[in-house]
Symmetry: C2
C-alpha cells in the first residue's frame, strides 16, 4: 500500500471513516449492486465504536468474551466488511471486498453468519438483527451469572436503521430488553430520515425516542457525524442501568459529492461520475480497495486494541476451575451423559406406557434434560401451562442476577424466536421457546433465519392440530406442518407418544447445526412404542413400528396423535386377513437423510399406502406416491370439542381402513 | 322472560353490564371451555360503548354506515356474542349462546367473520384485530372522500388486551394509524395487568400510554368500571384530531365472587361454585341464558338506538346520485367493463410479445385496472419502485383528505396485510400491498386470516426466487411458494409473462371470497403466450401452452420465469424427435378446482413428467407423480448475480432436457 500525499502521517478519525466510505462505495460499484448509503452515513459512528469502545481482537474472531457487533441494517453489509478488512480480520481480504456479492465469496449481499468471521448473525430481513441482539445480551448476562464476570463480561452493540425500527418485531425486542434491563445492550440508530421510497415521513411519524423510553430504555440523541459527540454518547451508554438507544442523526450517503442525503444512495451503486467526484471531495487519490498507509496503519492498530485484554482473559480462563465446562458450553458440546437420565426414563416408559398428551411428554423430557444440560434455557410466550415448558423449581430469568433459566418471553412469538437465534449464536446456551403451533406463523421469519444460519434453537409448538378443539380454526394448525417442513434445514418433529417425544428432544439437541420444531398435541394419546431399542428410532425420521403378519399388502403411515389411528386401522385390517405394516414418521427431514436403501425398506412401494395426519396432504406424496391415500384435512378446522372434529373431518380409524380397502 | 324481584323496573347500567357477565360466564361454563375473564372485566366499558356511542341498528347488521366494533382480544368472544344477543341481533339466539364452541354453531371459540352477523372480523391471533381496525378506519376515510360524509361517516372502536399490545404487529398498526391521523379510530385497552401466565409485569414493563403517544395518538386513562368516567372518555375520543387510546383500568373477571382479578378467570370456566357465588353477589336469580325483563328491555332498546339514523341514512343514499355506485362498491361487485381495457391490452401483447419482468407486467396490469376499478387502493411496504405497485399520477392516500389511492405502507409487511384484511372487510375498497416475496413470512399470519375469512386482498410479492440475485438467501424465496400454496383458500399465482400476469390479476379480482398472492419476478423473462384466446387460461390454473408434435412422450411443467426453460427444453427434445408438450401452471389452487377430466387431460399421466420451478419440490408431486423429475431448489440460495445462480443451482434448459431423457 503506497503512501499518499493527501493523507497526513497520522490518520485522522475523519480519514479512517472515509476509508469505510470509499471501500463501501467501491465495493457496491464493482458489484453494480448493493447499498452504499448506510455505510457512508454510519461510517463516523462505526469508526468511533470500533476504535474506542468495541472489545475485540481481529486475530481472534472467536474470542468468547468479545463484544458483539450486530449490523441489524444488514443491507449496509459493506460497512461490516470494510471494518473487518480495515481492522485486519484475516478472512476479510481485498479480494473478498472486490468480490462483493459474487458466487463463492464470503462477502454476501447481506452479512451471513458462518461465511465471514466477525459477522455475528445473518441480517437483512429488517428488525431481526435487533431482536437477535436481545438474545445475545440475555445470553451474556446469564453466562456471567453462571461463570462469573471474570469470564463473561461484554457488551452488545447494534446498528439499526429506520426500517428495523418500523418492523413490529422491534417493539417485541425492545420491550424484552427493557423488561430485563439489559444495560449492556446499546442500539445505535442510524437516524437518517430516509427509506427506500423517500423520506421516512412518507410513511412514519413515530417519535422513536419516546417509544424506546416507554419501553424502559435510556435514550440520547446526537449528531452522528460529530466524533466527539459520538464518543461521549458511547461512554454515556456504558454507564446506564438500562438498555440504551443512541439516535445518531446522520446523512445517508454522507460524503457523496452530490447525492449525500438522498434516498438514491440507499440501494444502488453511485456510478462512476459520482464516485470520482466523491473521491475528489475527500482528497482520496487511491485506487479502489487500496488504502493510504497511514489510514491502513491506524485501522490495523484498532484491530489489535484488544490483544492485551484477550490475553488476560485467556489467562483467567486457564486459571479457572470452570475452564473446561465453559469451553465445552461455548463450543456447544453437551455434557457427558447428557441423555443418561432421559434414556433411563425411556426404558421405564416402554414398560409403563402412559397415555398422555405429547406436550406433557415433552415436559417430562425437559424434566430429565434440565438437570443434565445446564445450557438449556427457555420458556414460553405466555403459555407456560399449555406448552409444558416449565420445569418445576427452575428460577426465573430476571434482573439483576440473571441466573434463572426460565424465561417469561411475553406475548411475542417473533421476538422470542429471534432472541433465541441470538442466544444460540452467542453460544454457551441452548435456547427453547414455546407457543401454540399456529403461531409459528408469527415466529416464522426467525425460524427461517435460524435454519439458514444453522443454529440450535428449539421451538416447542403445542396444540398441533384440530385436536386443540374449541378454540377453533384461528388456533388450529392445518397447513403448518407442511409449511414448516418446507423450510430447508429445519427439523420438524411430530412425536407419537412419550417415548418418541423424548427421542425427538434428544435428536433436536444432538443436531448442533439446525433448529428444531417440536409439534406436540394438546390432547391425550396412547403409548404406541412397545419395543425397547438401544437406538433412537425417531432420529431415523421414520421407522416400521409394527410389522405385518405375513407379506405386507398395506403400509400405513402416521405421525403424532394420528399414529394411534393407523395402529388401530392395522388391527382391523389384520383381523380381516390383510397383512398391514405401520410406519411412524416423527421427522421427514431426518428420514430423507437416511441411506436410500433404508428409505426404500420403510416406504414399502408395491403395497397399498395410506398416510394419516390431521393436517393437509402436501408433502406426503413422497411416502404414499401418486396413487396412495391420505386421510387428513383439506381446509381449515372449526370450533368444537376435539373428538367431534376428528369425527366430522373424517380423521378416524374407519376412514384409514376404508381408504386402504378401496385400494386393495 | 320472567320478571325478577331483584331487578328494578328500569335496569341500571350496572345491571346491564352484569347481564354480559352472567351470559359470558354461563356460556363458558356450559361449553366447559372459553375465556370468561375478559368479557366480565370489560362489561362496563362495552355497556357504555353500545348503549351511548356505537352507531348501529341490530336489525341491520349490514348497514354500510354503521360504526365498526372490533374485538381484537378475540378470546373474549362471549363479550360480543352476549352483546349481539342482548341488543337483539336475530342470529344471536339463546340457543347460539348455549351452544358456544360447539360444532355447527355460529358462536365459535373465537369470533369468526361470516358466522355471526355483527362480527366484523375474525380475531384471536393477538394484535391482528387492532391491525385490521386500522384498515377499517382507512377504508372509512377513503370512502368518505369518495362518496361524501353524507354516505360515509362512522367510527371504528376496538377492544384490545395486553396480549394485543405486546405483539409487534400492534406497533405497526398504531404507527400507521398515527401517521395517517385516523381520528375516528378508538382503542379501548383492557388494562387489567393480567396475562395467561400471571401478572403482565412478569414479562412486560412497557409504558403503553407513552408508546401510543409516541406513535401520534391521543391518550386517556380511566377506571374501566366507572360508568361516568367511561362515558366522558368516549366523548373525549370523538373530539380528537388523532386516533385515541383509552386505557381502561379493569379487573379481569370483574364481579366473580372470589376470583375477580385473578389470571385464573382468563381462560377457563369458573366452575359451578364460583358461578353460584357470583350470581349471589350480583343478586342475579335467573337461570343461565334467561334475562330479567327490565334488563332485556333496556338492552333491546339499545339495539334499536340507531334505527332512526339508519333510516335517515337510507333516505340520503336513495336520494344520492352515487347510490348505485356506492351499493355496487360495498357489495364488492366490479364496475361493468372492468376488464375491457385489460383485455384489449392482452390482445396487443399477444402480438408485441414484450420480454419483461413479471413485476413490470403486474405494474402494466395495474395501469389498466386502476382507471377501470375505482375501488382499487394499495401500495407497497417501502418497495414501490421494486414492486411496481404505483400507477403514475395516483394521488397519495393521506390526511386530511384521504382521497388518494396509493398507500405508503411503510416497512410493516404484517401490519400492511392485516390492514388490507380490515379494508376488504369494511367493504367498498379492494386493497393490495407489495413487498418482496420472502417477506410474505412476515405478513403470513394476516394472509392466513384473510384466507380463513375469505377476503379479497391482493398480495403483490415480487422478487420471487433466486432470480433476485445478489441480495442473497435472506431475500430469496425458496420455500415460499410451497408454504403459501399450503394455506387453504389462498390463490397463489405465478404468471410466466405479461399476458399471464394480466390474466392472474383478473382472476384475483374476480375471486371475491379469497385472497390472492401474486409471485412476480425481478428479472426479465420472454413472452411465452403466443396464442390469442378469448378465455382467461391462467384462471384455469394450468393449461397446455404448447402441444407435442405427435403423441406426447414427455410433459414439461413450469411456472413463472422457469416456463421459458421448459419451452426451450421442449424445443430441444422435439429437435431430437421426442414429442413433448408443455404445461403452464400459473395457479395450483384453481387448477385443482377444475373438473377431474380437465385435470387429467393437462397432467398427462403415462408421459414422462418433469416440472421446473426455482423453488423446492414440495407439492409438485401432484403433477409429476412419484416417478417424475423436478428441477428446482433443494436448499437456500446464495448471493450472486441471478444468471450465475440459475447455472450453479442447475435450473437450466439442459437440466430439464437431461431429466426427461433420463426417464425416457
Amino acid at each position: 500500500m503506497a503512501d499518499s500525499k493527501t493523507v497526513s502521517e497520522k490518520a485522522t478519525a475523519k480519514q479512517m471513516a472515509d476509508a469505510i466510505r470509499v471501500l463501501s462505495m467501491d465495493g457496491v460499484e464493482k458489484a453494480k449492486s448493493g447499498h452504499p448509503g448506510m455505510p457512508m452515513g454510519m461510517a463516523d459512528v462505526a469508526t468511533v465504536l470500533f476504535s474506542k469502545f468495541l472489545k475485540f481482537d481481529a486475530s481472534r474472531p472467536d474470542w468468547a468474551d468479545r463484544d458483539r457487533f450486530i449490523l441489524s441494517a444488514g443491507h449496509g453489509s459493506m460497512l461490516i466488511y470494510s471494518l473487518l478488512h480495515l481492522t485486519g480480520y484475516k478472512a476479510a481480504t481485498k479480494d473478498q471486498l472486490s468480490n462483493f456479492r459474487q458466487w463463492g465469496s464470503k462477502t454476501a449481499g447481506h452479512p451471513e453468519f458462518g461465511h465471514m468471521p466477525g459477522v455475528e448473525t445473518t441480517t437483512g430481513p429488517l428488525g431481526q438483527g435487533l431482536a437477535n441482539s436481545v438474545g445475545f445480551a440475555m445470553a451474556e448476562r446469564h453466562l456471567a451469572a453462571r461463570f462469573g464476570d471474570d469470564l463473561v463480561d461484554h457488551r452488545t452493540w447494534v446498528i439499526a436503521g429506520d426500517g428495523c425500527l418500523m418492523e413490529g418485531v422491534s417493539q417485541e425486542a425492545i420491550a424484552l430488553a427493557g423488561r430485563y434491563r439489559l444495560n449492556k445492550l446499546t442500539v445505535l440508530w442510524d437516524d437518517n430520515s430516509i427509506t427506500i421510497d423517500g423520506a421516512v415521513s412518507l410513511s412514519d411519524a413515530t417519535d422513536q425516542k419516546g417509544r424506546f423510553k416507554a419501553a424502559g430504555w435510556a435514550v440520547k440523541a446526537i449528531d452522528g457525524h460529530d466524533m466527539k459527540a459520538i464518543k461521549s454518547a458511547l461512554q454515556w451508554a456504558t454507564r446506564q442501568d438500562k438498555p440504551t438507544l443512541i439516535a445518531c442523526k446522520t446523512k445517508i450517503g454522507r460524503g457523496a459529492a452530490t447525492m449525500e442525503g438522498s434516498h438514491k444512495t440507499h440501494g444502488a451503486a453511485l456510478g462512476a461520475a459520482e464516485i470520482a467526484a466523491t473521491r475528489l471531495g475527500m482528497a482520496w487519490t487511491h485506487e479502489p480497495f487500496e488504502l493510504p498507509q497511514a489510514v491502513d496503519k491506524a485501522w490495523k492498530k484498532v484491530g489489535k486494541r484488544g490483544v492485551k485484554e484477550r490475553k488476560a482473559w485467556e489467562a483467567r480462563l486457564n486459571a479457572s476451575s470452570q475452564a473446561s465446562d465453559f469451553t465445552r458450553a461455548m463450543k456447544g458440546d453437551l455434557p457427558a451423559g447428557a441423555f443418561d437420565a432421559l434414556n433411563a426414563r425411556i426404558a421405564e416408559l416402554i414398560e409403563t406406557r402412559p397415555a398422555q398428551a405429547t406436550r406433557q411428554s415433552s415436559g417430562a423430557a425437559l424434566d430429565e434434560l434440565f438437570a443434565a444440560i445446564p445450557e438449556l434455557i427457555g420458556g414460553s410466550a405466555d403459555l407456560t401451562g399449555s406448552n409444558n415448558t416449565f420445569v418445576k423449581g427452575t428460577p426465573i430469568f430476571d434482573a439483576p442476577t440473571y441466573e434463572g433459566r426460565y424465561v417469561n418471553w411475553g406475548i411475542r412469538e417473533f421476538g422470542m424466536a429471534a432472541a433465541m437465534n441470538g442466544m444460540a449464536l452467542h453460544g454457551g446456551v441452548i435456547p427453547y421457546g414455546g407457543t401454540f403451533m399456529v403461531f409459528s406463523d408469527y415466529s416464522r421469519p426467525a425460524i427461517r433465519l435460524g435454519a439458514l444460519m444453522g443454529v440450535r434453537a428449539i421451538h416447542v409448538l403445542t396444540h398441533d392440530s384440530i385436536g386443540l378443539g374449541e378454540d377453533g380454526p384461528t388456533h388450529q394448525p392445518v397447513e403448518h406442518l407442511a409449511a414448516l417442513r418446507a423450510i430447508p434445514n429445519l427439523l420438524v418433529f411430530r412425536p407419537a407418544d412419550t417415548v418418541e417425544a423424548m427421542e425427538c428432544w434428544q435428536a433436536a439437541l444432538e443436531h448442533k447445526a439446525a433448529p428444531s420444531a417440536l409439534a406436540l398435541s394438546r390432547q391425550k394419546t396412547p403409548a404406541v412404542r412397545t419395543v425397547a431399542s438401544h437406538e433412537n428410532l425417531s432420529a431415523k425420521g421414520a421407522y416400521e413400528i409394527r410389522a405385518a403378519k405375513g407379506e405386507a399388502k398395506v403400509t400405513l403411515f402416521g405421525t403424532g396423535t394420528e399414529l394411534a389411528l393407523a395402529l388401530a386401522a392395522a388391527d382391523a385390517l389384520e383381523a380381516e386377513g390383510t397383512p398391514t405394516r405401520v410406519v411412524s414418521v416423527p421427522c421427514f427431514e431426518l428420514f430423507f437423510q437416511q441411506p436410500k436403501k433404508y428409505q426404500d425398506s420403510v416406504i414399502g412401494r408395491g403395497t397399498v399406502r395410506v398416510a394419516v395426519e390431521a393436517a393437509i396432504q402436501q408433502g406426503w406424496e413422497r411416502f404414499i406416491g401418486e396413487d396412495g391415500a391420505f386421510v387428513g384435512m383439506t381446509g381449515f378446522g372449526a370450533s368444537a370439542p376435539a373428538e367431534v372434529l376428528y369425527e366430522k373431518f373424517g380423521i378416524t380409524t374407519a376412514a384409514v381402513v376404508a381408504a386402504a380397502k378401496a385400494r386393495l
